[in-house]
Assembly symmetry: none
Homo-oligomer: 423 residues x 2
C-alpha cells in the first residue's frame, strides 16, 4: 500500500513548528507495510485543502491527515471532509459522552465549540481519542483509507497507534497483500562518504532485485558521519529478514570496523556498552570540547557505572592545577599540542583512578588561530595503564560543528582502542 | 512572493529524519517576505521529482529544493534539474577549486565522485557552499527562482543565508513590493505561561490593527520556557520597525526582567554578555547535568574570557577529592541535597579562583529515585564572594529533558543573581 501524509496548518509553513507528526506517522505506516510517498504541508485554506484531498485520495491507498480539528475558528479540516465526501454531520453519542467526561474531570464547563467536536461526518468512523476531545475521523471508501487526526502530537500518536494502524493491519490481512518492508541503518564515523563507497565497492553486490523482492542501499552523509540505510521489500517477513542479514554481512565484510551502531543509538552508547562489559571505568579531560564529551557520556542512563568524572580546563592554570600538566610543557609546546593532550589524558586518569581516559585540546574557533595552529585543529589524547598517545585532526572553521565532531571523534578514538581496531 | 519547499529523500518518508530543513527554510523565507504555501517531501525517484518540479515551478515564484546533491548513486537531484531545464552540465572552475581546497585541507585524496560536484547545470548560478562540496544550484527563469541545496542542515543553512536569501532580497527590492513583514521573538524561562500572560495583562494593548498595518502577538510555550512572538505587517519597513519597537517596549514594561533574549540567542549568551561586561569569571561544578552546563557555556565564542573551568563529578569520591565536599555532608544529607550543592559551588569557586560559580546535583532519571528524592529533583547551587545558596526544583521523569532544563535553570539562576533580579 502507498500513502500520503497531509499536515494542515500555517504554523508549519512559517517554520514555527517542526513537522514531527509526519515523521512519527511515516515510521508507523512504514512498520505497517505502508510506503509513504508524499508528505505535504498546506495552509489553513479550504480551497487548498480540498485540492490536496482530491489529488491524494486519487493517487494513494492511504491518506493520513493531521491538524485543523480543534475547536477554534481556524480549524476547518472537518468542514473540508464533509464537502469532499459529500456527506453530512451527525452527532456521535459515544464521542459526546467522552467529551463530557473530560470536561467534568477537569471541572470545566462544556463549551458549545467543544460539544461540536462530537459531530461526525456521516460517512466516517470515529477513532477514539483518549487524550483529547477531537476523535480521529476515518473514511473507508473504494478500498482506500482516509484518516484525519488532531495536530497535537500525543493525541495524534494515540489515535495512530490505537485506531489507524490496527485498522490498516486488519484490512491488509483481509486483502492478503504480501509485500513486507524492513530496514536497517548502519552508522559509521570518521571515514568520508567517498572512501566508504570505494571500500564497499560495486554496490551491485548489495543493491539488487528480482521477482517479488528488492534491496536498496542509501548513503546518508552528515558531518563526518555516514549512515548506510538498507531497505528491503519482499514477499514475506522471513525472506525480507534473510535478505537483510545477508546485506548487512556483505557491508560488514568490507567496512565492519567503521560501524558503531546498528540502530539509532549514538557513539557514546557504543563506548558505554563496551566499558560496561569490560567492567572498566572512564574519565575525561576536555579543553576545546568544553564539556560536550562528558555531556554525551552522561546522556546514557546508567553511565555512572563506568564514568567517574570529567574536568573542563579552559584556563591553562586549571590544566596545571587539576590535571598536573607541566608548566614547561605548556610553555614549550603550547596548550594545543600533542604533549599537552597526552599529559591531560594521563593527568585525569591519575586523579580519577579510572582505567581509561581521553582528552581534547584544540581551537574550536571562530578565532584563536596561531601560526601552524589553524582553527579546527584538535589533539585528541588517550591513556590507559600501558600506553598513552595523541592524534591530530583538522576539522572546520565553525565552533559548534567543531565541538560536536571533536567530541565524537574522541569517543570513536576510544572505541577503536577498546576494540583494538587499527586504522 | 509565494513559495514551495521540496525536500527530496526517502529518509524523511520513512520517518528516519525529521524535516528540520523545511522549518529553517520557511522561517528564513518568511523573514524575507516570501510566504511558503507548500512543503512537499518526496522520494529519491526521478519521475516523482520531475513531476513535482513541474507542478511547483508553475504555481510558485520561489521553489526551494533540499537533498539529493551528494556524490553517491542515490543522489539524483542534479540530473533532474538538467532534465527539467533542458540544459547541460559544465565544469565550474571556481567550485572545483573550492572542492580541491576542502580535500587538501582535510588531507584526503579527491575522489572522482566528489570532483563531479563541480559540474553545474549550464543554466544555473552556483551558490557558494563554504561548509561542503556541493554548491547551491540557482536558476532564475521567467521571473521565478528555482534553488536546489544539499540536505545536510548546516550546508543548506549556509547557502540559504549567504546565497538564496540575499538573492531574493535583491530581486524583491528591484520589484518595489509594498507589504513588509517583521517579527521578533522574546524568550523567557522559568515563568509559567499563565503567570506571564497575567503580568502582560490585556494583550489588546499590544495586539492591534488599522489601515495598512497589524500587530500580532503569540505565546509559544515549550518545556519551562515561553517565547513571545510579535509579527508586524505594515506598508513600509520604517513603520513596521517603529510598531515593533513600541510593542517590545510595552511588553518590557510588564515583564522585562524575565526576557533573556531578543533574538534566537540562548541563555548562556545572555549570561556570558553580563560576565564580559563586568569583567568577571565563572566556574561550574556539575553532577546530574553531566557537563551540559559547561558545554552550553563554551558554545559561545569568546567564552574563554570569563569561563575558567568546570568539573563533572559523577562519583562521590570526585566531589570530595576535587571539590572538597565534606564526607560528613555526603553521609548526613546525601549527594543530592542543599548542603552538597552549596559545598560544590563553594568548592569549585575556591579551586578555580573565579568570581562566581554554580553547581547542580540531582536525579536525572530514568531510575535512581530514593525516598523523598524523586526523579527530576535537582538542587542548583550558587556562590560568590559574599554568599552562597541552593534552590530546589523538581522537573520531569525524562533524563534528557531533565539535563536540558536543569542546565538552563542553573544559568537562569546565575543571570538573576548577576542582575539582582528577585523572583
Amino acid at each position: 500500500m502507498k500513502a500520503a501524509i497531509l499536515t494542515i496548518g500555517d504554523e508549519i509553513l512559517i517554520g514555527q513548528v517542526i513537522n514531527t507528526n509526519a515523521a512519527f506517522l511515516s515510521k508507523k505506516l512504514f512498520s505497517a507495510g505502508v510506503a509513504v510517498e508524499r508528505v505535504i504541508s498546506l495552509p489553513d485554506d479550504e480551497k487548498e485543502i480540498l485540492k490536496e484531498f482530491r489529488s491524494a485520495f486519487k493517487k494513494y491507498d492511504v491518506v493520513a491527515v493531521t491538524g485543523g480539528l480543534g475547536p477554534t475558528h481556524d480549524d476547518i479540516t472537518k468542514k473540508c471532509i464533509v464537502r469532499f465526501f459529500r456527506t453530512k454531520l451527525r452527532e456521535d453519542k459515544k464521542v459526546l459522552k467522552h467529551i463530557r467526561s473530560i470536561f467534568s474531570r477537569r471541572n470545566i464547563r462544556l463549551t458549545e465549540a467543544s460539544a461540536m467536536q462530537a459531530m461526525m461526518p456521516a460517512a466516517a468512523i470515529a477513532l477514539h481519542n483518549k487524550l483529547g476531545t477531537a476523535p480521529g475521523i476515518l473514511v473507508d471508501k473504494g478500498g482506500k483509507i482516509f484518516c484525519a487526526m488532531p495536530g497535537i502530537p500525543y493525541e495524534m500518536e494515540y489515535i495512530t497507534e490505537h485506531g489507524l494502524i490496527p485498522y490498516i493491519a486488519k484490512k491488509s490481512r483481509n486483502s492478503k497483500r504480501a509485500d513486507t518492508l524492513v530496514q536497517k541503518t548502519l552508522h559509521t564515523i570518521g571515514i568520508p562518504e567517498s572512501q566508504l563507497a570505494e571500500r564497499i565497492g560495486a554496490v551491485g553486490n548489495i543493491v539488487r532485485s528480482g521477482p517479488g523482492y528488492s534491496v536498496k542501499l542509501a548513503f546518508l552523509p552528515s558531518f563526518y558521519e555516514v549512515r548506510l540505510r538498507i531497505i528491503i521489500r519482499a514477499l514475506s517477513v522471513k525472506i525480507a529478514n534473510s535478505l537483510l542479514r545477508e546485506s548487512v554481512k556483505r557491508i560488514e565484510e568490507k567496512a565492519g570496523r567503521y560501524i558503531y551502531s546498528y540502530d539509532e543509538s549514538p557513539i557514546q552508547k557504543a563506548v558505554g556498552d563496551i566499558l560496561k562489559k569490560k567492567k572498566m571505568t572512564l574519565s575525561v579531560a576536555e579543553s576545546c570540547t568544553g564539556g560536550l564529551i562528558a555531556s554525551k557520556i552522561t546522556d546514557i542512563a546508567g553511565s555512572s557505572d563506568y564514568f567517574t568524572e570529567a574536568v573542563v580546563t579552559y584556563a591553562d592554570r586549571a590544566k596545571e592545577k587539576i590535571l598536573g600538566v607541566k608548566r614547561s610543557t605548556l610553555k614549550k609546546y603550547g596548550a594545543v599540542s600533542e604533549q599537552t593532550a597526552i599529559e591531560m589524558a594521563e593527568g585525569i586518569r591519575k586523579v580519577s583512578g579510572s582505567d581509561f581516559s581521553i582528552s581534547t585540546t584544540g581551537i574550536a574557533g571562530p578565532s584563536g588561530a596561531k601560526p601552524g595552529k589553524p582553527i579546527g585543529l584538535v589533539w585528541i589524547g588517550y591513556a590507559d595503564k600501558n600506553k598513552s598517545f595523541a592524534k591530530k585532526f583538522i576539522f572546520t572553521k565553525e565552533r559548534f560543528r567543531n565541538k560536536e565532531i571533536m567530541s565524537k571523534m574522541a569517543l570513536e578514538t576510544l572505541r577503536r582502542e577498546l576494540l583494538s581496531i587499527s586504522n
